[in-house]
Assembly symmetry: C2
Homo-oligomer: 95 residues x 2
């Protein structure tokens, strides 16, 4: 609960989560349905350094909101809808 809230306490991370709700619309790359979006594209859209965006992605992943898949030299990130829903429901129940 604490870690999840901390993960959501940053503008850039909130935007990343939002962008990944519709990868096709927000990133100029097809074939994102299953895998998600690679880190480089997220970095471009966020407009920060690679290391910074990597740290953000790690925080979101540790909180359980994102899942990562390596495919060749790319690492693709996508939302974990089940975990996100579980969190919002837990919050609704216990806050």
């Amino acid at each position: 609960m604490l870690d999840e809230c901390k993960a959501l306490s940053n503008e850039t991370r909130l935007r990343i989560l939002d962008w990944l709700k519709d990868p096709e619309a927000n990133f100029a790359c097809g074939d994102t349905a299953e895998l998600g979006v690679c880190a480089g594209l997220i970095q471009l859209k966020a407009g920060t350094s690679a290391s910074t965006v990597s740290a953000h992605l790690a925080v979101l992943q540790r909180a359980g909101f994102l899942r990562a898949t390596r495919r060749g030299q790319w690492i693709y990130y996508r939302r974990d809808e089940a975990r996100i829903r579980a969190f919002t429901e837990t919050l609704h129940r216990s806050l």
Copy 2:
């Protein structure tokens, strides 16, 4: 949304919100039904300095989760259930 999440990103603040769900059970003082619990009792329970707990209460109030009422020399704090519910529902809808 950001401010609300930041307000929840602290162990002590989460505990305060939880305690205030049942003031009678968590604080040794009757008559809390309408007004809530005064800052001093919250400070005692939290085990930190008065200034620290005052800052936490201010953060929770700014986020909309708490309402304060002055009664004489005491300031009573209680949850704003409507705002809390509104927040969790917004989060569920937009996250």
